[in-house]
Symmetry: C2
Subunit: 525 residues, 2 copies
Amino acid sequence: MKAPESAAQPPGTSPLLVLRRVGIDTYKENVAYLHRDCAVYRAEGFQALSKVEVRANGRRILASVNVVDDVCIVAAGELGLSEDAFAQLAMEEGHSVSVSQAEPPLSIPALHRKIAGERLTHDDFRHIVQDIAEHRYSKIELTAFVVACNQSELDREEVFFLSDAMSRVGRKLDWREHPVVDKHCIGGIPGNRTSMLVVPIVAAHGMLCPKTSSRAITSPAGTADTMEVLARVELPFEQLTEIVRAHRGCLAWGGTSDLSPADDVLIAVERPLSIDSPGQMVASILSKKIAAGSTHLLLDIPIGPTAKVRSMPEAQRLRRLFEFVAARMGLALDVVITDGRQPIGNGIGPVLEARDVMRVLENHPDAPNDLRQKSLRLAGRMLEFDPDVRGGDGFAIARDILDSGRALEKMRDIIAAQGIKAFDPESPPLAPLSFEVKAPTTGTVIGIDNLQLARIARQAGAPRAQGAGVDLLAKLGSPVRSGDVLYRVYAAFPTEMEFARQSCERASGFQIGDAAALPSVFVEF
Amino acid sequence: MKAPESAAQPPGTSPLLVLRRVGIDTYKENVAYLHRDCAVYRAEGFQALSKVEVRANGRRILASVNVVDDVCIVAAGELGLSEDAFAQLAMEEGHSVSVSQAEPPLSIPALHRKIAGERLTHDDFRHIVQDIAEHRYSKIELTAFVVACNQSELDREEVFFLSDAMSRVGRKLDWREHPVVDKHCIGGIPGNRTSMLVVPIVAAHGMLCPKTSSRAITSPAGTADTMEVLARVELPFEQLTEIVRAHRGCLAWGGTSDLSPADDVLIAVERPLSIDSPGQMVASILSKKIAAGSTHLLLDIPIGPTAKVRSMPEAQRLRRLFEFVAARMGLALDVVITDGRQPIGNGIGPVLEARDVMRVLENHPDAPNDLRQKSLRLAGRMLEFDPDVRGGDGFAIARDILDSGRALEKMRDIIAAQGIKAFDPESPPLAPLSFEVKAPTTGTVIGIDNLQLARIARQAGAPRAQGAGVDLLAKLGSPVRSGDVLYRVYAAFPTEMEFARQSCERASGFQIGDAAALPSVFVEF
């Protein structure tokens, strides 16, 4: 074999193109735009959606090809990159880049074995997670991984492999002390803002509690969304570290995508599919806690007819899976199974929830008692991670810290440190439009649908519109008369108001009936 | 509940936007481009990748949102559509369109049940396939469906449900005669161009054989790619119908996407994942044959160490699945299991394969005998679908038709009817660059890797470059001396030449050894 005379360039290289930023946000999927007449596109035989490797100055990223027929977007000698991809390559426009067929990610054979239903090894998961974190998987491959792991349920060793691999690909924090405590709820209960009470209580006691909180993904508010009503939450990493060291806690986090980059990528397909399998939930939560440097974790699993977990056997299975994986990862874990039959507190949506939280901290007479009690119980369990606290004493210590105003003081310190925003819980900045939903009959509230109320609050604009959401005036067990207001919906825009109203008309989310029909709940504390 | 005074428009509608075509080919996925400052985008709270419904003049399509920051692509008052999506909506630029959150496809709960591993009903498959054919599924949802069906293997009733649903969503042909015969190979064997011999033979006998052939998806040439060397293959549907009626056969098809639109969509995710599960293969093939109006089908399942099917038990399982589903669909099916140990014929790539086919038709002394023999056997079996042909007589009839020149004459008629292209099999228009791969030792060829030779031919440019590919000078059982040429590779461009050469250096695809080590094959005919 002899190289043909006409081979003008070294093997494997291709002519250079001029880099151009294309102002399109393709959300976590890198897209490379090549003009249909581009010589490289023609010579390399890329097809639409081919994966290519873009190289410049020793940097390289992967992207999917979209073919362009408009020179205003990219010309024949240019390579366009979507916004995320452009940021990842981190080169100036006009720079020379080369592009070639991407070798398939090395972990693809392992992915195919998982699709075929096989059990994967620790190394398989390490390679897959590495490729995912480095954006080497297409959306199709990501989905295939998520669905394959979901369907032939991962065994618990595999969940450990996945969690461990996910915790290792990102940044890892080391607080250089012990214990470092955190709490987490598996989600699904609107208004459940216990973190904003537990963190000040636990930090006031002196334990280090660098809470990693997130924005809402499918819910009407996440802890970060609600905290943002009171304080800045997007802070540079170094400033947050200082706040945590100075005040023993924080309620803000900008770094979760650094801490578990694979999780950040996977969520882009899990969210639209509404897939939340036990294995993926455990891996997502525990990998982030380990990466954030936590040594102790209190996990809240709410159960109820419209919660994520709907029966005690299911909750116990999930608890055992969390316990097995946490133990393998060296994380001390305490699991509480809580009442998830209805929303916690009165407000659903950032402003309304911030009002509830501040009222509890201020020992205000209108503070929602369920939010107070649950927060005290969780904080009490966390305090018992302190070797100097006797088993059973945590609740009383937590209550003392709250009742004495030390929790409020700690919260004010944290708010001031993060950057205070003006907020008066007694005149909260609610969205301007509202309507009321009233009881159609007289009776007792015997059911509140978490999913429907979350949907209504989101349709009303939460969390994007901070003042939008739902304010509950009745809870499970409340006696109501026909025409009494069950809840008020707040919205910022007429369209959103209308969407929410239509939902309420289809299903209010409230069930009125005989007090005897009130479902009982057996939860652990 | 009372509508707020400020509600300026009827519920559920949104302000109108101006339609714009965005010159980006997003390959089967509809994308809607909205500017980040677009009032609708802000008010509706679309997120990146949200699915939206675009409506204009009573027409509606679904699309995924990409957010744009460049008014040259779309301005704030415009809605941009990718090329496919724009064509689907079939409206002029500048037309007013409205856009709103898309309701999730109604079949999504069924998809979730399949992801959870449940068995689906006939209705479930009907709804899923309908939504897929109407482009209501995102790429993520399509992948989830394909992987879920692949992993918890569909049972044979489900394969029938899927096949039946797929055959019903598209156009259905009715030739108003009986039998209407077709043949199909499950693929995987390079150079296997038997259709181009079988169709003229069977049509010369007088049977109606409107062969539905396709372009290469992952192979170095499909029948349509090879036929395109000899004749036009992209013809309007009406013209093709006329040709079939006049000549009893054709070797072109433009309408497969009309015949099985769901298959056309699914392939966009199956291809990048290289998923080809038995259930999906059966549904894809049989749904298209039924929609094309076939009453009888001859199916070719090659087996060999580098074929799609690698053992006789596996081939028999696949045969039984095809037979079960075909029977339920009312299609008469005959399955032959053939020798798939090596490529068929000498050439791999459109021009080289067209040369082989024409030499067989012309009874040329250099015609590849394996291609001739296999085609005669398949044609013979198809002729036996004719109630007037006695079992066992088919082969001799086929051989008469070929040897007498009647098959060549029929092929010339079909070529002329479709639109002839200049082609001389004795001086084929090969690609200009070439190199040879030689035997490293003396011995017998005891193995030829189908996959590696297909890969080399593709890297050399086939089928895009018609004259590119691989020309085999030795086949299984050939005695070779060290330095003898095993095959020649033809390429159109230096880069491609280099890619192919690197592949050959890594693995030539040929195994030379002792004649006794030649694997035997037990196939049925």
